[in-house]
Amino acid sequence: MDKLLSEFSLGLFFWQLLLFVGLVLLLKKFAWKPILDAVNEREEGIKKALESAENAKKEMQNLASDNEALIKEARAERDAMLKEAREIREKMISEAKEDAKEQGAKMIENAVTAIDQEKQAALAHLKKEVGDLSMIIAKAILKKELSSQEDQIKLVEGMLKDVTLN
């Protein structure tokens, strides 16, 4: 310790203090600040570049997924449209079928009524014809049959028999 103290040189201390303070201040202004700033700037630049690259990548991914979504949507729309078209077609067909059926039914009904009417008319006509004919026949039969008494009785009896059987 004694040696250390005796070795201590105030002059050297003074110069060291002066020069070192000067060195720190000068280097701070002319070297460390520009160097560290440049390094920082460069690092920031690299960081930013990396970030923007990452962002671009993400954007690309987003775009891709957007595209995919769009495609999907378009596909879904197409499917929906197709489905709708199919439905419309089906509906139209079924409607047409229904219509046709209805029309047919109506026509058939009409035809049936017409036939019925015709039949009725024909029947009425037939009845009349048959009545006329039977009148003629009856007239003729009566003319022939009721010429004898016996035959008249026979006929009345036969009619009575039928009545009782009923």
Binding site: L4, E7, F8, S9, L10, G11, L12, F13, F14, W15, Q16, L17, L19, F20, G22, L23, V24, L26, L27, K28, F30, A31, W32, K33, P34, I35, L36, A38, V39, E41, R42, G45
Partner: protein, 366 residues
């Protein structure tokens, strides 16, 4: 390319300036009463080592005794600046390496054991009981060998890093030349010393100091290993100055938490607080003190050991011992290169650690 050369030129010129004026100080020595010549070789070596470890008032490269038995010093004198009732400036060549008195404005100064004392015209040195000189010592601001080297390192660092900085601007933020070598070191100090120890938030304002101290100590240590052999960091004044910076910066940038943890440690009982306060306070001084001693002791010890082993070559004076010593000195020299960087690293690292403790924010009590 031209700029590259200009730096070399500057450094070269600096040395030239010191050595162009290399005055050959031939001093006639009295052959008859020169008991030094008969001194034991070991003692000579020891003296040489001790002399090497000390600062000196001239930039001596080497000295030898020539055929005419004259002691020849190769080197250059340096200005001596004294404050003794007024500024006294003269060249150290006036001392003739301690052989003569320097007379300035009627005052006499004597170089005795590498220190300047004020004496009478005869150069008498009075001693106290412990054989310490009692003569008055004028305030000494001389440009000694070490001051010259500090100045050289100052210039080297300034131009080196200024050039590095301007290269960034010219080169779009990319390092160039020397900067490519230095940038990883700068980044290492920032990312592995400053950031983890001080913290992301506060590290920036300490960066200038940490970078300067690291490169300063490193370059200075390396210069100590060159054959010029000026080791600045084995002066206690220098390491004291550096440690003082760390202490002052720590103290003046410290936050409230730091002082609170020193004088009124939270979370311990009151009697413990009272006991802890002086201990903690002493700790704040011991920390930079250890910085000072560590750097000083490591560099001094390294130099003593290295020079002793080199000296052993001459002591052995046979091929086996001398070559072994040479090999050992070689290995140790490489080790010293490592130590030069290591000590700079440790100094920076510990400084950062102390700064970190000064600005640390404690969230909870412990």
């Amino acid at each position: 390319m031209r700029r590259k050369f200009s730096i070399k030129k500057i450094t070269f010129l600096l040395f030239l300036v010191s050595f162009v004026s290399v005055a050959q100080h031939n001093e006639k020595k009295d052959v008859a009463n020169a008991p030094k010549e008969e001194k034991d070789l070991k003692v000579t070596i020891k003296e040489y080592i001790n002399h090497h470890l000390l600062d000196s008032y001239d930039f001596g490269l080497f000295s030898y005794t020539n055929d005419q038995n004259e002691k020849v010093h190769i080197g250059s004198p340096l200005p001596v600046i004294l404050w003794d009732n007024g500024l006294k400036v003269f060249l150290s060549s006036k001392f003739h390496y301690g052989e003569t008195l320097a007379e300035v404005d009627g005052n006499y100064y004597k170089l005795y054991h590498n220190k300047i004392y004020k004496t009478d015209a005869q150069g008498t040195i009075n001693y106290d009981a412990e054989h310490h000189p009692t003569n008055a010592k004028p305030l000494d601001f001389s440009i000694t060998k070490n001051v010259v080297m500090i100045f050289v390192v100052f210039l080297i660092m300034f131009f080196m890093f200024k050039r590095m900085a301007s290269a960034y601007q010219k080169n779009n933020g990319m390092p160039k030349g020397m900067g490519r070598l230095l940038e990883p070191i700068v980044l290492y100090i920032r990312d592995d010393i400053a950031k983890p120890n001080i913290g992301e938030k506060n590290y920036k304002r300490y960066m200038s100091y940490l970078l300067t101290i690291f490169f300063f100590v490193w370059i200075v240590n390396l210069f100590g290993l060159t054959p010029i052999g000026v080791n600045i960091t084995n002066n206690i004044a220098v390491t004291f100055c550096l440690a003082l910076f760390t202490y002052v910066i720590t103290t003046f940038t410290a936050k409230k938490d730091y002082w609170k943890h020193i004088f009124w440690m939270p979370g311990v009982p009151v009697p413990m607080k009272i006991i802890l306060a002086p201990i903690e306070f002493l700790g704040t001084i011991i920390k930079p003190f250890s910085l000072m001693i560590r750097l000083y002791a490591n560099i001094t010890a390294g130099h003593i050991v290295l020079m002793s082993i080199i000296g052993m070559m001459f002591v052995f004076n046979n091929w086996l011992g001398s070559s072994l010593s040479f090999f050992l000195a070689f290995v140790l020299g490489i080790l010293e290169l490592l130590v030069a960087a290591l000590q700079a690293y440790i100094f920076t690292m510990l400084s950062a650690l102390y700064f970190g403790s000064a600005v640390e924010e404690h969230d909870e009590h412990h």
